[in-house]
Every structure is written in structure tokens, then in C-alpha cells.
Symmetry: C2
Subunit: 162 residues, 2 copies
Amino acid sequence: MAFGAVRIFRLLADGRRQISAFHLPGEVFGFELNATHRFFAEAICATGLRAFRVTADVDVSRDLLPLALGGLAKAQEHLLVLGRQSASERLAAFLLDLAERQGGLEQFDLPMSRLDIADYLGLTIETVSRTLTRFKTKGVISLPSLRRVVVRRWGPLQEMAE
Amino acid sequence: MAFGAVRIFRLLADGRRQISAFHLPGEVFGFELNATHRFFAEAICATGLRAFRVTADVDVSRDLLPLALGGLAKAQEHLLVLGRQSASERLAAFLLDLAERQGGLEQFDLPMSRLDIADYLGLTIETVSRTLTRFKTKGVISLPSLRRVVVRRWGPLQEMAE
DNA sequence: CGTTGCTTTGAGAGCTCTCAAAAGGCGTGG
DNA sequence: CCACGCCTTTTGAGAGCTCTCAAAGCAACG
């Protein structure tokens, strides 16, 4: 991806949504897509993509398999988060992940809405909002704008994420 | 796998466990294993395995990639369960999955303990037990023994699983 | 400056968890 | 064959965390 952000998600019949992954600029993806089961990919905001075709130029074992295995590892990591961590732990892990993927700086973008975050972390939008407010109150982060995060203290964040 | 059952799981520092997959007889697996992050595979009971080596005989794009992608699809399916479904929905989906993988008969084995089920579904052992009891009380299933399930009424089970 | 949609905050309910004890299964040994 | 002990499972009671419903606050936009 060149710029923007993409979400990969599934829906239940009643509309409940689970986002299984976000993809940021510089990342290659597409394996998550499975035609058979209400899987979707959507751009979150203005986004530029490059598509690749599987041709003789693509070495499956060298290029595609590592990508698929990486996606599998991330999905399993996320299973641990959804199955066994509290709201604070989920948010902390999420912020650390985003920070790392954007270069590890103390300030970074939050390209997705609160609802997207909630649907990624298996929470409600209200719980996401309340938890971010608690982080802010504790001085762990600050939010210069709705879509921008500054990490004030990495230690507590890393401890919470386990 | 020839017989038995295997669980794939991850641990948090404080001992919380998340099982990401069970593997039953007849299934090929191994891609879940990732050396870098406290990943484990364990036999649940007496189990027979066959190991394959990646040699010239194995066509990566024909054999390995579909397997990895299948694992990814299952993991993402499971993310939806852990992120967005209630205890009853999780148990119902779990029982239906087990039934299907054992031939779709109305009677099938439960090769894993209640604790394993809980750690797979992101619940506690007590909640798993209570939910199974409720299914039994409603006449949806019966449990001739601890490790054996009979589905009495498929309809309610499928509705609960969505 | 009003409208519209997203986010935050508040109050209370509900589902699952925690802690605890009873019940049930299963193998060992008498 | 029965008694005992250990481990798993079930059941009970209460607490806690997250959810639901509701309203207020904010920001972007015409």
C-alpha cells in the first residue's frame, strides 16, 4: 500500500462486525480475502494501492508463503488478545503495535475511527473511548487530536500489554 | 494425524492460555508453529503423527500455500467468535465444528478437557460447564459420557451459532 | 450558524468471572 | 469387589467488567 489504511473484516448475520486486521502504508496484504464467507476489505480513508498479479515473476515459496505465514502468526497473536486480555490490555497492545508499525516514534497516527478500533479489539466504542480517557488521565498518552496519539510513558503501556 | 488430538496454543506471562486450534485425526497441520513467541503444540491424549519433510516432492504452491491459507481462514473465523459472540454462541459453533470434522454424525467425541475448551473459546471452565448444562436442559444435546456428545436437535444449535 | 456524524460521558443492567464447595470418574490397593 | 484418594467437572453465590441505552460535547461542512 502506498498511503491510507485498509481494514479486513467479517460480519455476522445480525450486523456484528469483527475486523481481523488493519493494513498500513508499506504493507503487502491480500491473503486474508476469502470469497466464500462474507469477507471484506475496505479503505478507511483516501488510499493508494498497488496490485500484483501472480505470474512467473512471483516465486510462491519465496514471496507468498512467508506472507501467508506472517498473516497467520498475526492472527494467532490477535486470538490471544481477544480471548484472554482485558480492555486496557487490548488497547495498550493495539497502541504499541500501531506505534511500532509507524516507525516506533512517540507520536503517530490513528487512521481508523473509534468504532473500527472497537470492532478490531472485540469491544464497544464506549469502552474504547473510556479506556483511552483513562490512559490520558494517567498520563500514559495524550491525544493532540482525535486521530493522533503521543506516548508519554512507554513503561506502563508495555506492562499493560504484558 | 493418524489418531488422537493436538492443541496449538500461546501463553501470556502470567499463565493465561489461548488455544488457537485443535487438530483431529486425518488433518495436516504444523504451520501454526512459530519459534519466536511462546507457541506450543501438545498431544491431548495418545496420538499418532506422521511428519513430512519439505523436499523436492513437496510443491509449495500446490501443497503448502493452500494449507497455510486454510489455517489463516480458520484463525480469522475464530477471531469473529472470540471478538463478537456470547458464551452460548461460542459453544454451539464449537460443537457444530467438531461434529462436522468427525463426519457430521449426531454423535461424536470430545477429545479435549473442559479446560481446553474454555481456553479455546476464551471462557472459563465454569462457564463452559454451565453452558453445556443449559444445552442439556434444553434438550439440544445430551452427554452420554464426559467426552461424548449426542446432538438431539440441530436447529437450535445452528441458530445459536448464527 | 445550523446540521450532521463521531466521540465522550453518565447510569444502570447483564453476562461472565472469581472463589468456594459438592459431585462424579477413575485408577490403585487392600 | 469395595474403599480410598486424586483429579476433573458441576453447581452455587456474589463481584466486577463490559455492555446497553441515553444524552451531552465536538468537529467538519455547507
